[in-house]
């Protein structure tokens, strides 16, 4: 069976045969990884855009894009080309430096969070020992990009959107952190590969009892809020603030925000899949049996992407069903419900972990 890590290893061997200089080798490898990464990210955001529109369409009893390409699959490409040909405007009264820097910040922070995600066994850009902490800290930098975008636009809608976003993201950071910690307590490691390995005999959501289930639900809710998607899209609430923090952005700069949003969606779902649903681990029940062997034949990255896209679908499902919350309700939900519940939940998880009551 071919695995992604084998392919990576083969490339590495081939390259080390051709290039003897150590530094040069690693730079070449990095360049290859970078190019593949960029390509796959663009493909990913195209796919997510297409998926979102199709999911929305089917939930809204309509067909969705079906003109460009087979079943409309190239619609999103056409839209990107359109955005490419659009003039990028900068408002006269804006703070031009910050205004133009914000899209870069958004894209770069999103790129950085990609690093520790484990796609398959041994296939990871950077298997750092502080993986979970790294993700939760770097992803919160994106709020700075949004604040910069909103404030520098010198537009009242943008400012309101950015301020809302600030209050919202920092609040939900706490719940996300606490629900991540619940898993860290159970595994005792922040390293992504360790967390995945610890679920070899069963995913945490199955063997962690109700506390992990609660942590999972909180994680999904909080991460929906963290990436500014409906019903928590107050930062860009189009019926209130027209487009919120990116009202003034057009053309490619706007596309960068869109791209960042989709990649962020992927990242939080990948995190959820890794921590709660076992990452690239196949579905196993009990000890050695035929079912487990059958599951083993499905490659790891299929498992990983399957779980991730399932979570993405759930978050899209939220978006196309629920109305938006109001800002005070949003913060109420966090400070009155999610935060206390997840704080108590941590205690329960600790008890389970320490006494070894999990399966």
């Amino acid at each position: 069976m071919i695995t992604l890590s084998e392919i990576a290893h083969n490339i590495h061997v081939k390259l080390s045969g051709a290039i003897t200089n150590e530094t040069l080798l690693s730079i070449t490898e990095m360049a290859i990884v970078g190019i593949i990464l960029l390509g796959s990210l663009v493909m990913l955001s195209f796919f997510l855009g297409y998926m979102e529109r199709k999911v929305a369409a089917f939930m809204q009893i309509r067909l969705g894009p079906n003109r460009v390409g087979p079943k409309g699959s190239l619609q999103i490409v056409a839209d990107t080309v359109k955005l490419l040909f659009k003039e990028g405007l900068t408002p006269n009264a804006s703070d031009k430096f910050l205004f133009n820097t914000a899209p870069y910040i958004m894209v770069i922070t999103t790129m950085l969070v990609i690093a520790p995600i484990a796609y398959s066994s041994g296939f990871q850009i950077w298997d750092t020992s502080i993986g979970v902490l790294y993700v939760s800290s770097v992803s919160s930098v994106s709020v700075i990009g949004i604040l910069m975008a909103g404030w520098s636009s010198n537009n009242k809608y943008s400012l309101l959107g950015a301020m809302r976003c600030g209050a919202q993201i920092v609040s939900y950071e706490l719940s996300i952190g606490l629900s991540l910690i619940a898993i860290v307590v159970l595994t005792g490691s922040l390293r992504m590969s360790d967390i995945v390995m610890s679920q070899a005999d069963g995913w945490w959501i199955f063997k962690g009892h109700i506390p992990v289930l609660i942590a999972f639900v909180i994680f999904i809710i909080a991460s929906t809020a963290e990436i500014n998607r409906a019903p928590f899209d107050l930062a860009e609430a189009e019926s209130e603030l027209t487009a919120g923090f990116h009202t003034e952005y057009s053309g490619m700069k706007f596309a960068m925000f869109l791209l960042a949003e989709y990649i962020n969606l992927f990242i939080v779902c990948a995190m959820g899949a890794t921590l709660f649903l076992g990452g690239w681990m196949p579905l196993h029940f009990g000890a050695d049996n035929a079912f487990n062997h059958a599951m083993d034949y499905i490659p790891g990255f299929v498992w990983f992407f399957g779980k991730t896209f399932f979570l993405i679908f759930v978050i899209m499902w939220f978006r196309w069903t629920f109305p938006r919350l109001r800002i005070d309700q949003l913060l109420n939900l966090e400070w009155k419900y999610l935060l206390p519940i997840s704080m108590i939940n941590i205690l329960l998880v600790t008890i389970i972990a320490i006494f070894g009551w999990h399966f």
Partner: protein
């Protein structure tokens, strides 16, 4: 002398306030309403509607149109209740002429008016969801609305501005498909109102968003001259169909649904219930359309006697009054449309005070404003 001062003392607005213009080109103003909003953080301190972006002076136009023609310019006022607007204008002319409309025409007019109301409320429900950030309701609502429009198209020849009414009756008889299709609609719509409730009414986020915001007390509702579901939500019994029945409303049984608190939620629920009432009105009439003429004989050139004639109907948004001032000629001397939206909008500044900016949008949605009717 009693001062009917319903407003709490104005919140102080200062030069340094955060003044934001919502509209005329804003996704949630459904047209070209322009609200100037004074904000304190997220809290609305003051709202001032600026009108006139699509003022067409229909009243002035009507002064140069004949009594047959002026009916049709009113389809463009409240374009979601076009048929009901036509009805109001025709009623005024009929009142002036003293013509008795044939029974068949009366019943068909009433059925069409209720269908219009259903279509209008369906659209409102979709937009209500849209304004609160849920996009899906819009499409569900349009499914029903399109079905009604198809019925309208078959009988009247047009989907939105039906122009089916002439003074004294109707332009043509109903299409053979009208009755079976309407029955089908009743069945389908009943089931879909349950879907509406499942998707939006029962949703906890939606309830939280609309309950306890946008209060309009009974006194304020009366003083601001609000009508229709907006006033009924505050407990004002003002249904024209009930109190001043016209056409075939005196021969049907229906409830006038009254609220108590007058918040956004109440305004929402009342419209949902009203849809059910409309369905029951149609159900009562659809099997009992009397045979007979569809139009009373009138002269080709209609001349009204000198005087004033005021007719009123209940549109989907409230009481539409038509004041015809005639000098005995073949054109109206003056036409005044008492539009429900105009009065309902004037209450917005009152109810929005002190709320959040997100609720302002919800309130506008529950007022169900149609801006061309405000501006006329």
């Amino acid at each position: 002398m009693i001062e009917h001062n319903l407003l709490e003392p104005d919140m102080i607005t200062e030069d340094g306030d955060f003044v934001i213009n919502i509209g005329p080109q804003h996704p949630s103003t459904h047209g070209v309403l322009h609200l100037k909003v004074w904000l304190d953080g997220e809290t609305v301190k003051k709202v001032e509607p600026h009108l006139g972006y699509i003022h067409r002076s229909i009243e002035k136009m009507c002064e140069s149109l004949s009594y047959r023609q002026y009916i049709f310019s009113t389809s463009r006022m409240d374009y979601l209740s076009a048929h009901i607007n036509n009805q109001a204008c025709a009623l005024a002319v009929e009142m002036g002429l003293g013509v008795e409309v044939p029974d068949r025409a009366k019943v068909i007019r009433t059925i069409l008016a209720e269908l219009t109301r259903l279509a209008s409320h369906a659209l409102w429900w979709g937009c209500m969801g849209l304004d609160l950030g849920a996009v899906t309701p819009f499409f569900y609502a349009f499914r029903e609305r399109e079905f009604i429009n198809d019925i309208m198209e078959e009988t009247c020849g047009a989907r939105l501005t039906q122009n089916f009414i002439v003074p004294g009756g109707l332009m043509a008889d109903i299409h053979p498909n009208f009755v079976p299709k309407t029955k089908e609609l009743i069945k389908m719509f009943r089931a879909n109102i349950d879907e509406y409730n499942q998707l939006l009414t029962g949703n906890v986020i939606f309830q939280q968003r609309t309950q306890n915001v946008g209060f309009l007390s009974k006194e304020a509702a009366i003083s601001y001259g609000t009508s229709g579901p907006v006033a009924r939500a505050s407990g004002v019994s003002c249904d024209v169909r009930k109190h001043y029945p016209y056409d075939a409303y005196d021969r049907v049984q229906f409830k006038e649904i009254l609220g108590t608190t007058g918040d956004s939620w109440e305004r929402y629920v009342i419209r949902i219930d009203e849809m059910r009432e409309s369905l029951s009105i149609i159900e009562q009439l659809i099997d009992n359309i009397p045979e007979g003429d569809i139009v009373a004989k009138t002269k080709q050139v209609i001349k009204l006697p000198k005087g004033e004639f005021y007719s009123r109907v209940e549109t989907a948004r409230g009481e539409l009054g038509v004041l015809l001032v005639s000098d005995g000629g073949s054109t109206p001397y003056r036409v005044k449309f008492r539009s429900p939206n105009f009065s309902n909008l004037s209450a917005l500044g009152h109810i929005a005070k002190g709320s959040k900016i997100g609720d302002l949008v919800a309130m506008m949605a529950t007022l169900d404003l149609v801006i061309p009717d405000v501006d006329r």
